[in-house]
């Protein structure tokens, strides 16, 4: 093929990801997106105009060398593309699927100014899937063993990426996880139809192959404290996530049928309630029911689409602001709409009403209008006086965010936290107030993204490696 000019490249329309039809996919939990074929991936890769100053790299929180890996795809050098990608991103198969690309790399892509950006996320996913399915994960060059031991608390993206870098650097690494399965939100929160658990498991198996040890069913703070870990390990990394669900604190919230998104999604994903009775954990029977989900983020989209797959007749997103302010990934909103989810904007819940048996039956909502932008830059919703509505529902899922779980901070008094319970760290090194203890991910930032958690884990790994060379300096 002759070398394309930039003009040629810009004429190629973005290649859409093949996916399951909405009518079909609402009846199963299989992944919605099928992924690019080799041909689609190479054609999409040709769209990249290989900017001299690739702004997309600045848009990526971990600075993936985007134009270079895309060029390798265009050239059919998938193995090399995978190697390059992994230099910066420890979990590309996952980030390619769940990163909010439209706010990051694809947002600043030059093509986005005139048309559609290069499908960077889809390409990243393609390379990672190709590697896993075709040649398998390879063992990288491992540094000689240092004899130092690091404990990682929490098996989410922050902990996993930290573990991966540290083991390659030659340290012994043990991951302590409270739940019975490794993966954090990737396992218990994000549903199968968006991120197949097989992928998370193969990432974990890969780390195991590299020599990382995993101890599940181990709650740091309860089974063993951070101080006790410090006696057995040379350094500790805390990546315990933002795992404390916020509730609305309105009357009727403890009625039957009202779930936190964490509970709803954990029952279905981690505990596989969608396979009940083959799996023992139940979820309420939603067939033919009206389900309201409160919130506008990825968690809310995941919950409402899960409800639809469990047979809900009406799946509603009830959100205080409008579509423009919703923090969810655009693709999730699009998929939700295709799947028949109803969006009720500018409404805030006031009270749940139940029947005599204690089941939720309706929600009273306050209608809102948008006012001036608030601190986050989003326009603030203001109640319209007297404008209330009552919506009949059979189940409700609260997806308004998570705070930090106090188990670690309560049992580690010299670990400094801010007023929200987030661990305070030096942003460059992820060092905490406690010598030898590092932290990163949602427990530091509050609920954020997989890629930020992963980036923090890697930053910490680098600093831990430095620290282990001379533990006298903190």
């Amino acid at each position: 093929m002759p070398e394309l000019t930039n003009k040629d490249r810009m004429k190629i329309p973005r290649h859409h990801m093949p996916e399951q039809e909405p009518e079909v996919r609402i009846k199963n939990f299989n992944e919605v997106n099928y992924g690019y074929t080799i041909q689609l991936a190479q054609e999409e890769a040709e769209r990249c105009i290989r900017c001299k100053k690739p702004v997309c790299i600045d848009g990526c929180p971990v600075a993936v060398k985007i134009p270079d890996f895309i060029k390798l795809i265009a050239e059919g050098k998938f193995k090399e593309a995978a190697d390059l990608l992994k230099e910066d991103n420890a979990l590309p198969a996952i980030c390619g699927r769940v990163c909010p690309q439209e706010d990051q790399c694809e947002k600043v892509c030059v093509l986005a100014k005139k048309g559609e950006p290069v499908a960077i996320g889809h390409l990243e996913r393609f390379v990672a899937d190709w590697e896993r399915e075709t040649i398998g994960y390879r063992v990288p060059e491992m540094k000689p063993k240092t004899g130092k031991k690091v404990a990682i608390v929490g098996g989410g993206p922050a902990g996993l990426s930290c573990a991966k870098d540290l083991i390659v650097m030659g340290h012994d690494v043990t991951v302590f996880e409270a739940l019975h399965e490794i993966g954090g939100v990737l396992i218990y929160g994000i549903p199968e139809f968006r991120l197949p658990k097989e992928i998370v498991r193969s990432e974990v198996d890969y780390l195991r192959m590299l020599g990382v040890e995993f101890r599940t069913n181990y709650v740091i703070g309860l089974t063993e404290t951070v101080d006790e870990l410090m006696q057995r390990y040379d350094a500790v990394f805390i990546g315990v996530g933002a795992g404390l669900p916020y509730f609305l604190n309105i009357p009727g919230e403890n009625l039957m049928g009202v779930y936190s998104a964490n509970e709803f999604l954990t029952r279905v994903n981690l505990m596989k309630a969608y396979k009940f009775p083959e799996a023992d954990t139940p979820i309420m029977d939603l067939r033919g029911k009206d389900v309201a989900v409160f919130g506008g983020g990825n968690t809310a989209m995941d919950a409402v689409r899960t409800a639809i797959r469990l047979g809900a007749k009406r799946g509603m997103i009830i959100y205080r602001r409008t579509e423009a302010e919703m923090p969810a990934r655009i693709e999730e909103i699009k998929h939700a709409k295709e799947e028949g989810v109803e969006f009720i904007f500018l409404c805030a819940p006031l009270e749940f009403f139940g029947d005599d048996d204690g089941w939720v039956r309706a929600v009273k909502v306050q209608k809102m209008e948008l006012g001036e932008p608030d601190a986050s830059g989003r326009r603030k919703p203001i109640p319209i006086e007297g404008a209330v509505d009552v919506i009949p529902i059979d189940a409700a899922v609260i997806a308004i965010g998570n705070g930090s779980n106090p188990i670690i901070s309560k049992t580690t008094p010299d670990l400094k936290v801010n007023k929200w319970g987030n661990i305070i760290v030096d942003p460059e090194t992820m060092k905490t107030s406690k010598k030898g203890v590092f932290a990163g991910g949602d427990i530091v930032t509050g609920g954020a993204t997989v890629i930020l958690a992963m980036g923090a884990g890697r930053k910490a790994a680098k600093a831990i490696d430095e620290y282990l060379k001379n533990t006298d300096v903190w």
Partner: protein, 287 residues
């Protein structure tokens, strides 16, 4: 995977297990619990730690076979393994020298009352134990309780053993006799705990109950275990499981615990069917 060291029935459908779990054994305090998963597709169920042996590295749990998971557990024997055990979870009991402490256990609740009774005694209290069962066979841990109770009253609903009546009747009788009581701990079925709270309320006796809402993670991550106490919401797995009995909204707890009744029935029926099928097959094989 954790090994079962000992397994024996101590009453009909109530089985005691000693399970290998050295870290938990080292750490646990009275009032805390573990979460157990029987197998790969099993649910996570909370069970109070009845006892532990740090030297041996074991914890003791006592299980009443009521649903699929507990019946399945109760089919396991010494030498078998359970998939997962995690803990110790929840806040330990607040043990002080209150003076005269009454420890009340209803049915399998006695297994939970027992470690706390022991701790109350060790803290210097005069401990009165009231342990109830439907009939004689359901009065459990009498010998164990005796060691730590200054007075122990077994009660049965049908009068087949000990005091004839509910545990609350015995408690009321003690109070009617003018006995001084400074602290009451009651653990058992919800109606029993509510009844105890009603008995002690007029006397203003500090009364604590251990709540058993449905749990999933039991580390404060899901909020499924939320209970209403004094009009406020708490997560029983991390804020409890013990709460001020006079402030607990028992009605809400009762209702929430019924949320999955149809599922529980279905799971149990299918489990029993499966077991019958297997045993029939085995019989055929034998023949």
């Amino acid at each position: 995977m954790n090994k079962i060291i000992e397994a024996r029935f101590i009453a009909p459908d109530i089985k005691l297990f000693r399970i290998e779990a050295p870290k938990i054994a080292e750490k646990r305090k009275p009032g805390q619990f573990v979460v157990v998963r029987v197998d790969e597709l099993g649910e996570r169920i909370p069970l109070t730690i009845a006892d532990s042996n740090a030297k041996e590295g074991s914890v003791t749990i006592i299980v009443q076979g009521v649903g699929k998971t507990t019946k399945h557990l109760n089919m396991l024997e010494a030498g078998d393994y359970i998939q997962d055990i995690v803990g110790p979870l929840g806040k330990p009991s607040e043990i002080e020298n209150y003076g005269v402490a009454v420890s009340i256990g209803g049915g399998v609740g006695t297994a939970i009352a027992y470690p706390t009774a022991k701790a109350l005694k060790e803290a210097g209290n005069y401990v009165i134990g009231i342990i109830g069962g439907r009939t004689k066979e359901f009065v459990i841990l009498e010998e164990e309780m005796k060691q730590f109770c200054d007075e122990l009253y077994p009660t049965t609903d049908d009068g087949s053993y000990g005091y004839h009546g509910f545990v609350t009747h015995k408690l009321q009788e003690l109070l009617d006799q003018g006995r001084k009581v400074d602290f009451v701990l009651a653990i058992g079925p919800i109606p029993m705990m509510k009844a105890v709270a009603d008995v002690t309320r007029p006397y203003g006796i500090k009364t604590v109950v251990s709540l058993n809402p449905i749990m999933v993670d039991a580390t404060g991550m899901c909020g499924g275990c939320r209970v209403t106490v004094d009009g406020k919401t708490f997560f029983a797995c991390v804020d409890g499981p013990e709460f001020d009995a006079h402030k607990v909204d028992f009605e809400n707890l009762t209702k929430r615990n019924r949320m999955y009744l149809p599922h529980e029935r279905q799971a149990l029926d299918e489990f029993i069917c499966k077991i019958e099928l297997i045993s029939k097959k085995l019989e055929k094989q034998d023949a």
